[in-house]
């Protein structure tokens, strides 16, 4: 009886020590999921390197890692939202708004510390995330509609504010522009920092009650509510965090590209969702991890880089990319479903 009231545990969520065997299986399934993406990534890199040795040299690794950082960050925030059975389509617009407004500070206030600019970006993103969160959580309206609306609204605000202006590299201090460039033992510092942030996010979602609650909400919101989980508050926080992360990603975008106008980040939302889905996060919520999503973003960047490095005709690039994306989504979702039903079979047999 009591078991029925508890939120259904999906893969990716560690169970308390009571249900030992199911917990062990869940752990293994969880690891298989992420390692599956890792395996695909390794195979892909191996094949490409065989065809083009220079694919795996230091400078290209740096390129791919840096190109991934913005998307990995966005994927982190998006995963939290998607796990709770929502979606945040406004990330591209938030990134764009934050990218301009924060980097513009360098020109307006020469000598401003880089940290302050990052905080400004975070603040702008947070404000947008709060708006999303309030509307979804308190208004109890579908997040797809709300964030589609804020996608339009925030981009419109961005265009109104920016007009025909742009921030150019000349107004940005070298310390800022060097952020994506500094490396330690050949790996970009920024990639290490982002990896650390992702690890923190992963740990939080696994261990902290508020993180695990998101999985519960995504699995079965009604049961979650009945079990006493503050669904509104958790969903609100997820959107706020997603917005804040998108804001920081905007600042990093500025550091990477150096020229920022009102089109920054256009179209990113679909790419981020692709990365999240490829990374094994179920679009209906309840399972998946930020590590998987980050690996998904890395895999997509790697595919892009491979296509350009192999020098296949540029007119074929997009079709091949689309095909591989479909393949990745199909493979991942099929594996997930097989594993989930196997898990369920196993549990039924053991009960």
């Amino acid at each position: 009886m009591r078991a029925a009231l508890l939120p259904k545990r999906e893969t990716g969520q560690p169970a308390p020590s009571g249900t030992g065997q199911a917990a062990g299986l869940a752990e293994r399934v969880f690891r298989v999921r992420e390692s599956g993406i890792l395996v695909v990534l390794i195979v892909f890199v191996a094949v490409t390197t065989l065809l083009r040795h220079r694919f795996l040299d230091q400078s290209n690794i740096q390129f791919v890692l840096i190109d991934t950082t913005v998307f990995a960050l966005l994927a982190l925030g998006e995963t939290m939202v998607v796990i709770s059975r929502n979606v945040d389509l406004s990330v591209g617009s938030v990134l764009g708004l934050s990218a301009y407004l924060s980097t513009n500070l360098f020109g307006q206030h020469p000598g401003i510390p880089v940290v302050v600019v990052f905080l400004a970006g975070l603040g702008i993103g947070l404000a947008c995330g709060l708006a999303n969160g309030i509307m979804v959580a308190a208004g109890r309206v579908p997040s797809l509609v709300v964030t589609l609306a804020t996608l339009y609204i925030i981009r419109g605000i961005d265009i109104l504010i920016v007009g025909g202006n742009e921030v150019v590299a000349q107004s940005l201090p070298n310390a800022f522009l060097d952020i994506p460039k500094t490396t330690v033992i050949g790996i970009p510092d920024l990639a290490i920092v982002i990896a650390a942030v992702i690890a923190v996010g992963w740990y939080y979602l696994r261990t902290f009650r508020s993180g695990r609650d998101l999985y519960a909400i995504g699995s079965n919101p009604e049961a979650a509510r009945l079990a006493g989980i503050p669904v509104g508050r958790r969903v609100f926080t997820a959107f706020a965090v997603s917005g804040a992360i998108a804001g920081v990603a905007g600042v990093l975008w500025g550091a990477q590209y150096g020229t920022i106008d009102s089109t920054a980040g256009t179209g990113y939302e679909l790419q981020v969702i692709s990365a999240v889905v490829v990374g094994g996060v179920a679009i209906f919520g309840g399972s998946g991890s930020v590590v998987g999503a980050a690996l998904g973003a890395l895999l997509l960047s790697t595919i892009s880089s491979a296509l350009y490095t192999l020098g296949i005709s540029p007119f074929w690039d997009q079709a091949i990319w689309g095909f591989l994306l479909l393949l990745a989504i199909t493979l991942d979702q099929t594996i997930t479903q097989r594993l989930t039903s196997a898990l369920r079979q196993r549990r039924i047999r053991h009960e």
Partner: protein, 363 residues
């Protein structure tokens, strides 16, 4: 049932109003007073003497329709305070308005053109997002006697005049010459272009290939397409670096492309080893010229382009010139210009920017 009746009513009401309006109103529209008109109405009192003394009409409604709004290149070309098209129109006593969509596609630009026609435009100055897709709309404008002048990007079969920033051939050849001088006339080079179907870029690349024949020791190994998107342009540039370890130079005939490529090359590993040139705006390139990533690049003054286009449009609309070759007119502070072949007016030779002169420009 209540549902059906009520929903029929819901549909009938707006439909009825619309149909009633359709049948009652005539096609012609009276002009509304736009803010631009009212401001130039005051200036026209003082400057109409300039215009009328040269036989030009005043009070013309001119709409400038760039590829998209929110694009700094076009903002410079069109706005009054940069000395662009609207500045010229204000001087001449016309009313100038800039309008367009935000997506740089025909679907986004066409409604703006149609709205301009509806608002009683006398002349349109358009930078075409596509050489043919705008034709049905532009032709309907020309049928109503509206002057259609294209600038920056042409729609060759459906306009009265085209104001070209520099000869297509010269833009292509100058970029190759600049790069050749920077890499010692030999080595592998590549091109980072815009969208695969971008007419301007494709035309310039055609001339680049021709000019390359003058440099037998240089070879064009690849053309990649950055789609005028910073992320794509960055990735295709990185791909080039991986694919061609001996690459000596890159030409990017698009401002988004050269900015992205410069950001990629802006480190000790590539600076000075792979030379970058192309079409860039001075403001965007200042940093890269200062630290040596880019030595020289090419462009023209967009404000002058817009200014000239405005004068051309007003002269044509006033009947002072036709689009026959040899017709000439004065374009205010820019001097006198002549219509060349293909109804095209050339602004002048492209400007080469480098460390010596870049700080004189602010666009």
């Amino acid at each position: 049932m209540r549902l059906r009746r009520a929903t029929l009513l819901a549909l009938a009401l707006p439909a009825a109003i619309t149909l009633a309006a359709c049948s009652s109103s005539s096609a012609s529209s009276t002009s509304t007073t736009t803010p631009a008109t009212s401001s130039s109405a005051t200036t026209s009192a003082t400057s109409s003497s300039t215009a009328s003394s040269s036989g030009l009409k005043t009070g013309l409604k001119v709409f400038i329709i760039p590829k998209n709004l929110g694009n700094s290149y076009f903002t410079t070309a069109d706005s009054a305070n940069s000395g662009g098209a609207i500045a010229a129109l204000d001087t001449l006593g016309e009313s100038g308005t800039e309008t367009s969509g935000t997506a740089a596609t025909p679907a986004s630009q066409i409604p703006a053109i149609q709205a301009a026609i509806a608002k009683g435009a006398n002349a349109l100055i358009v930078s075409a997002t596509d050489p043919t897709a705008l034709c049905p709309t532009l032709e309907s404008a020309m049928k109503r006697g509206i002057t259609v002048v294209t600038y920056d990007s042409d729609a060759p079969t459906c306009r009265d005049l085209f104001v070209n920033q520099a000869s297509t051939a010269e833009i292509g050849t100058s970029e190759v010459d600049v790069l050749a001088s920077e890499i010692g006339d030999s080595g592998q080079i590549a091109i980072v272009s815009a969208a695969a179907s971008a007419t301007n870029q494709n035309a310039w690349i055609g001339y680049m290939k021709q000019e390359l024949k003058k440099y037998p020791k240089m070879s064009l190994v690849s053309i990649v397409y950055g789609n005028d998107d910073p992320t794509t342009a960055t990735q295709v540039t990185q791909g080039l670096l991986q694919q061609y370890p001996n690459l000596k130079g890159i030409i990017s005939p698009t401002t988004v492309g050269i900015a992205a490529a410069a950001a990629v090359l802006d480190n000790a590993k590539y600076r000075g080893k792979i030379m970058l040139t192309g079409l860039g705006t001075p403001d965007e390139m200042k940093k890269y010229v200062a630290d040596g990533t880019v030595k020289e690049f090419v462009l023209w003054n967009p404000a002058n382009l817009g200014y000239l286009a405005a004068y051309a449009a007003v002269n044509y609309a006033s009947g002072k010139i036709t689009n026959a070759e040899g017709q000439s007119f004065t374009a205010g502070k820019l001097g006198s210009y002549t219509v060349g072949a293909d109804d095209t007016i050339l602004l002048g030779p492209p400007t080469v920017f480098n460390a010596a002169n870049i700080n004189n420009f602010n666009f």
